[in-house]
Amino acid sequence: MTKELIKGNTAVAEAALRAGLEAYFGYPITPQTELLEHLSARMPELGRAFVQAESELGAINMVYGAACTGKRVMTSSSSPGVSLMMEGLSYIAGTEVPMVLVDVVRGGPGLGNIAPAQGDYNQIVHGGGHGDYRLIVLAPASVQEAVDLTALAFDLAEKYRTITTIMMDGSIGQMMEPAELPPFQPLKEEIPAWAVRGAKDGEKRVLTSINLDPPTQEVMNLRLMTTWQKIEANEVRWKGYHLDDAEYVVVGFGTAGRIALSAVRAAREQGIKVGLLRPITLAPFPAEILDELTEKVKAFLVVEMNTGQMLEDVRLAVRGRKPVEFFGRMGGVVPFPDEVLTEIRRLATEPQTTAGHPRDRWLARLTETIG
């Protein structure tokens, strides 16, 4: 296969199609719309289901219905649209049917703007919908990685009967990069035993998220948690750069991680022994490698395009044993590599502390810069 120059949104759409996507339901919202547009042409071409829904509420509930048939189903949206989908996501989690959600995150809260951001980390990684559930979150940092993670997202969703979210930001969605698309997978032939299909064999199937009897609900909650423990044990993914001899480690995901990598390389050229840990699964979170690194390095720097949401997960893993500093830009503002480099230099040259909260120090510095 050869590489082609392709936009992130289009690439994910085509990758999903090639991974055997059988039904897509969505609603236009910037910066995600090309994904829906691409599938609006390709799905009918291949005789597969495509509906532009009346709203994100409609879209996610169409996904819910189609997911109950056990077929490969997906929706995509961006931050405000994903907020509207939270109800459906909770029901889908409660019914234990697999689906893939692509969230092309933009600046917020509220209507915000259509520029790249990572402000939905907490909403996606730590819940959003009501009730006690967790979902797998994949965070690509390039168009190619987004393509590669798409097929994986379906496999994981089906393996664990769960929701897999590909959380990327507006720049991954909108950017054109060379990427190699995977070959076509045949459509799934096997229908899972739990899926509705008409009670032909005399065995009726009911898919529901209702458990009026609290002990029954508790058993269900336990089952979800047991599944999550398996996911935590088997599915943590991350990528390390220059970690072997690193004295300092930058932690960043998606576009922020990619920008941080440029800064890490520049810092290396200046003789600073710094590495990058880029979580690919935000959930399950790569806490174990952070724990190992804590034993070896002098300090961490978390870089995000928000006010420090993953920062809290890093701090939980480091548990105050080493200083953790933070740098972020938000609201659709993307940090420059130079800004991150300045933070790395500061980390390596100034005395660091485990006292106080890194967010307070960052805010004080940032307020001087952007007032």
Partner: protein, 259 residues
């Protein structure tokens, strides 16, 4: 000749597609009749094995317990969207939703209008009993002007609380709707007519003619504070004038098919 000499003949029995169990519905409630009519139609059309039902949120939340067909349970109001997802994956299956008035005409108005306008080939059984039954009788989008409910204790004041929604009329204006009718379950004659309409609605879906909906005026003696008999009279006296029975949309394709 004694009575035992007469050969026994089954003239009435439980439809196969209805589970053999009691329901959770209140005495005098017409949900049970609606369930039975749907089940009889599924039996008669021989489509039980091809049918997937979508239950909604409201008194009929447990509808899946009573039908011998595959079922899913939707979030409040979203049954038409969920049915859309299933039908698009299984276009040759029969997919129906069973929804109450709070579910369909209030929180789910977006989903029902979306599904009808797209001409989704699904069948909607819509129970209109002029209140939110499951939560204890609050004002619904179908509550009549002046009608007392637990959230309109002095009667629905249209100046403050607006007017009821005439769902069949509203949806009949959509090009995508193929068959939209209103029937009632308050007496035997209307029950028989309701059955015919439900049959037609499923036939419309089976023939691929588009979206079909049967609105059924129903009783809610418990929340109306009436005996079952009084409730049936109330449907006739109060609901029928505001919700006239009739065929609100018969698309040309359906009309052609009916010939």
């Amino acid at each position: 000749m004694t009575l035992t000499d007469v050969p026994a003949k089954v003239v009435y029995s439980r439809p196969d597609s209805l589970e053999c169990r009691g329901t959770h519905y209140c005495p005098g409630c017409t949900h049970g009749i609606a369930h039975r009519l749907v089940a009889e139609v599924l039996d008669e059309m021989g489509i039980v094995e091809d049918t997937i039902g979508v239950a909604s949120v409201g008194c009929s939340v447990f509808a899946y317990n009573y039908f011998n067909v595959d079922f899913v349970e939707a979030a409040h109001g979203r049954a038409p969207a969920m049915a859309t997802g299933i039908k698009r994956v299984y276009p040759d299956h029969i997919v129906f939703t069973y929804q109450g008035d709070g579910d369909l005409a209030s929180i789910g108005m977006g989903e029902i209008v979306g599904a009808a306008s797209r001409g989704e080939k699904i069948t909607v059984i819509f129970i209109n009993n002029a209140n939110y039954g499951m939560t204890g009788g609050q004002m619904a989008p179908t509550t009549l002007p002046g009608q007392k409910t637990t959230s309109s204790p002095t009667g629905r004041d249209v100046a403050r609380q607006g007017y009821p929604i005439q769902t069949a009329e509203l949806l009949s204006t959509l090009e995508g709707a193929a068959y939209v009718v209103r029937r009632s379950l308050h007496n035997n004659r209307e029950v028989r007519r309701a059955k015919q309409a439900i049959r037609t609605a499923f036939e419309v879906q089976k023939a691929g003619l588009g979206f079909s909906l049967v609105e059924l005026l129903s009783t809610c003696p418990t929340n109306w504070g009436m005996t079952p008999v009084e409730a049936r009279e109330w449907v006739e006296e109060r609901m029928l004038p505001f919700y006239p029975l009739g065929d609100y949309k018969i698309s040309s394709a359906v009309a052609e098919w009916m010939k």
